[in-house]
């Protein structure tokens, strides 16, 4: 019961934060709303007993990436962008799209509900604890993808450095 209450609380936080992120005028406000949304998701992780993910979400997204975002926003002058009208008010079109998307999501969920009761979703929490299990998976079974993900990051860094280098002309 308490779980359910917390679930709806966090979910509300996540959704409301997301909506605010795209509707606020000021970029700083957008970023702060996003932090709220991410925090909501982190709470959801905690409810699912994924403590590690919860910690990662807090430390990396909220602590690292979002703070960086805020820095950038403050350093770069975004005033002109903030004054622009954010939405073309085509409410009718938007409403139709939202209803359609919602209906199809509902239909899929009702159709597919049974199939999501698969073994993984129901797996009992291991006595070893979440973090240990994750470590085991990452460094045994998923060793290769894990290591290669670092190559992926390296390539991305090389790319951003190349793009950011001073232009010759």
């Amino acid at each position: 019961m308490l779980d359910t209450m917390f679930f709806y609380m966090f979910a509300l936080l996540a959704v409301a934060g997301a909506i605010l992120t795209i509707t606020m005028r000021s970029a700083v406000h957008c970023a702060i709303s996003l932090i709220a949304s991410l925090a909501g998701v982190a709470g959801l992780y905690l409810l699912q007993k994924a403590e590690f993910l919860f910690a990662v979400q807090l430390v990396l997204y909220i602590g690292g990436i979002m703070v960086l975002f805020l820095f950038v926003i403050m350093l770069v002058n975004l005033d002109s962008a903030a004054k622009e009208r954010q939405f073309h008010r085509r409410w009718a079109g938007g409403a139709v799209a939202a209803v359609l998307a919602g209906a199809s999501a509902l239909w899929l969920l009702s159709k597919g509900a049974p199939s999501f009761g698969s073994p993984v979703a129901q797996a009992a929490p291991s006595p070893d604890g979440n973090v240990e299990q994750l470590a085991d998976l990452l460094f045994r079974q998923y060793l290769v993808p894990f290591e290669l993900a670092s190559l992926l990051l390296l390539v991305a860094i090389v790319g951003s450095v190349l793009m950011a280098k001073k232009r010759t002309s």
Binding site: Q86, F87, H88, R90, G93, G94, V96, A97
Partner: protein
């Protein structure tokens, strides 16, 4: 081993020499490479045939397995049997003469080495086609000759009409090739092989398809291929335009050899066609219709090469008629005699054009008999051969076909006879307009050099006497089947038709020159219709070419790109526009269109997938 591969290899070497080094070589050296290679090839054919003797069965040389896998098993093989022996002699023999002729004809032209390189390449592919022992190797040659033809039609690239004609030839031939490749796939699926020997072995015990079945389908598709290459209805339109190429090309490729590849291919596939009487009937009717139609057009043309071009189409129709009524041997016989006299007609025409410094209009000629006597004499030989005057070569082969047609369906014979009359008329019309009367042009005619008149003389002899090479008898064991009895009365009728044609031409163009114009005025609309080639080109343009071009423009560009995407973006996409607002400043407003494409595609795909998933 008789080293059959050497036959096409010689011209290939000639091509390589001229193609790579020709630019830096003297004309003599180019000539030596070009003519020498074809000569060697011709001699090698003679040697091989002498060595092989009577050739009761096909002689096959296997070189290497081209593809061997679970899927298909095709090897690169050459084979010689009586059918290909005849073709080999024609191709190398006539080819040699035309190469010699071309050294004289092309001597003032630019791109001399390029011309001979292409010609040698053509010889290589044509010989590959003839020697092929399976459909795939034949297809290699088939595609290759088409390409060379395309290159050579467009040889005078500075003329736009030449480029257009080349393109037309190519496009039409692609339609034919499409049929051929489908037929090839069907053969592979049906018989599990592409080898002539194996396919024919397997088709042997199968039942003759009196109702349309898979063999009929194969044969009809092969026929589509043949109509493209051999300029039959409805794909004949490219051949008259192909006369934009140099005259030796017209003689070699568009009269004597390449255009008969379709006839050769059908004759080669005779065992298949024999099992598909419906397809054979279609072959005969297509041939007959083409013969009549092209002959009527030939009656009205004024460009000397166009007259002979329509004549070629018409004569090819005869060959198909022969094949269609089951007289394959007669059809091939006509291929050979036609190669003699039609090559001669074109080369003679070339000699006339050469003498008149490029003039091709018959109305600008006349009275040339005295000025270029050798050309006149040889052309006259060709004319009496094609007109069916006994006992010359055209008479022999045409009669064999007509007799077989009569045996098959008498009405086909009568139509053929009328066409023969027209043939005699238009050929002699050209001869009379060109050589008799008074000279109407302004150039100073001069006789051509020996390198041109020499081949003319040889071809003239062959045109006159070539009928005595008893090809039908030689080929008969290959094709079997019954032979039409010799009926003297039928022969006499067809000869009379030819004679009537000649006399009419004499009357119209020598004795009373004004008569023809009066008659054409009398016929009025009909004449206009025929003179404009039944407006077939215009019809094709209106029905096929324009819609395709406009369609691709309207549909793909206006329709897809602008209509659908813009519609999507403007209708439901004001949201997307806002998000894309930042990107708009980066002068790539198109990205969101592209993204919209991806979204639309994904939605359609997901919906379809969900639908498929539901269907059990």
């Amino acid at each position: 081993m008789h080293q059959l591969w050497l036959i096409p290899a010689f011209p290939l070497i000639g091509f390589l020499i001229n193609g790579i080094a020709g630019r830096r070589m003297s004309k003599t050296a180019v000539n030596v490479a070009a003519i020498g290679s074809v000569l060697l090839s011709f001699l090698w054919v003679l040697k091989v045939l002498a060595g092989l003797g009577s050739l009761e069965d096909a002689y096959i040389e296997r070189y290497f397995t081209w593809i061997q896998s679970g899927i298909v098993d095709v090897s690169f093989d050459f084979a010689v049997d009586r059918l290909s022996a005849v073709m080999l002699l024609v191709v190398t023999g006539i080819g040699l003469l035309i190469h010699i002729y071309a050294t004289g004809y092309m001597s003032h032209e630019g791109g001399y080495y390029r011309f001979f390189a292409y010609m040698n390449l053509f010889m290589f592919f044509m010989l590959t086609l003839v020697l092929a022992a399976n459909f795939l190797v034949l297809f290699v040659g088939w595609e290759g000759v088409g390409l060379c033809s395309y290159l050579l039609i467009g040889f005078y690239f500075h003329k736009k009409s030449a480029g257009d004609a080349g393109k037309k030839a190519f496009v039409v031939n692609r339609i034919g090739d499409f049929g051929f490749s489908l037929a090839m796939f069907l053969i592979l699926v049906t018989f599990g092989s592409l080898d002539f020997a194996r396919v024919f072995e397997k088709v042997g015990p199968m039942a003759v398809e009196h109702q349309a079945g898979v063999i009929t389908l194969i044969c009809l598709l092969l026929l589509v291929g043949a109509t493209g290459k051999s300029a039959q209805l409805p794909l004949y339109v490219w051949l008259p335009d192909a006369m934009e190429g140099p005259t030796p090309v017209s003689a070699l490729i568009h009269a004597a050899t390449m255009v008969t590849a379709g006839v050769y291919m059908v004759a080669r596939s005779a065992p298949l066609f024999n099992h598909a009487p419906i397809a054979l009937e279609v072959v005969a009717i297509v041939g007959l219709l083409t013969a009549v139609m092209a002959a009527t057009i030939g009656l009205t043309q004024y460009d000397i090469k166009k007259v002979f071009a329509y004549s070629t189409v018409s004569q090819l129709g005869y060959m198909f008629l022969g094949l269609g009524v089951g007289a394959y041997d007669a059809g091939i016989f006509h291929v050979m005699t036609h190669a003699f006299f039609k090559a001669l007609l074109f080369l003679g025409a070339g000699s006339v054009i050469h003498a008149l410094a490029g003039e091709q209009d018959l109305r600008m000629m006349g009275g040339l008999r005295k000025k270029i006597p050798v050309t006149f004499l040889t052309l006259f030989c060709a004319a009496i051969a094609i007109a069916g005057v006994p006992p010359f070569s055209g008479f022999m082969s045409k009669d064999a076909i007509l007799l077989a047609a009569h045996h098959h369906h008498p009405w086909m014979y009568w139509v053929g006879v009328v066409t023969a009359g027209m043939t005699a008329f238009y050929v002699f019309r050209a001869i009379f307009m060109c050589f008799f009367g008074t000279y109407r042009g302004t150039a100073h005619p001069h006789e051509s050099p020996l390198s041109m008149t020499g081949p003319l003389a040889v071809l003239a002899l062959l045109s006159l006497g070539g009928g005595y090479l008893d090809v039908p008898h030689y080929l008969a064991p290959m094709f079997g089947g019954e032979h039409a009895p010799h009926e003297t009365s039928l022969v006499v009728i067809s000869v009379l038709a030819g004679a009537a044609g000649i006399l009419l031409a004499l009357l119209f163009y020598v004795i009373k020159p004004g008569l023809a114009d009066a008659l054409s005025r009398l016929a009025g609309k009909l004449y206009t219709l025929i003179y404009n080639k039944y407006f077939v080109d215009e019809l094709y343009d209106a029905v096929i070419v324009h819609p395709t071009r406009d369609g691709s423009r309207a549909l793909l560009w206006k329709g897809f790109d602008l209509g659908i995407i813009d519609g999507v973006v403007n209708g439901a996409g004001s949201l997307a526009r806002t998000i894309g607002g930042g990107l708009r400043h980066m002068q790539s407003g198109y990205i969101r269109r592209y993204a919209a494409w991806v979204v639309v595609g994904a939605i359609v795909l997901l919906a379809a997938a969900a639908g498929m998933g539901g269907a059990r």
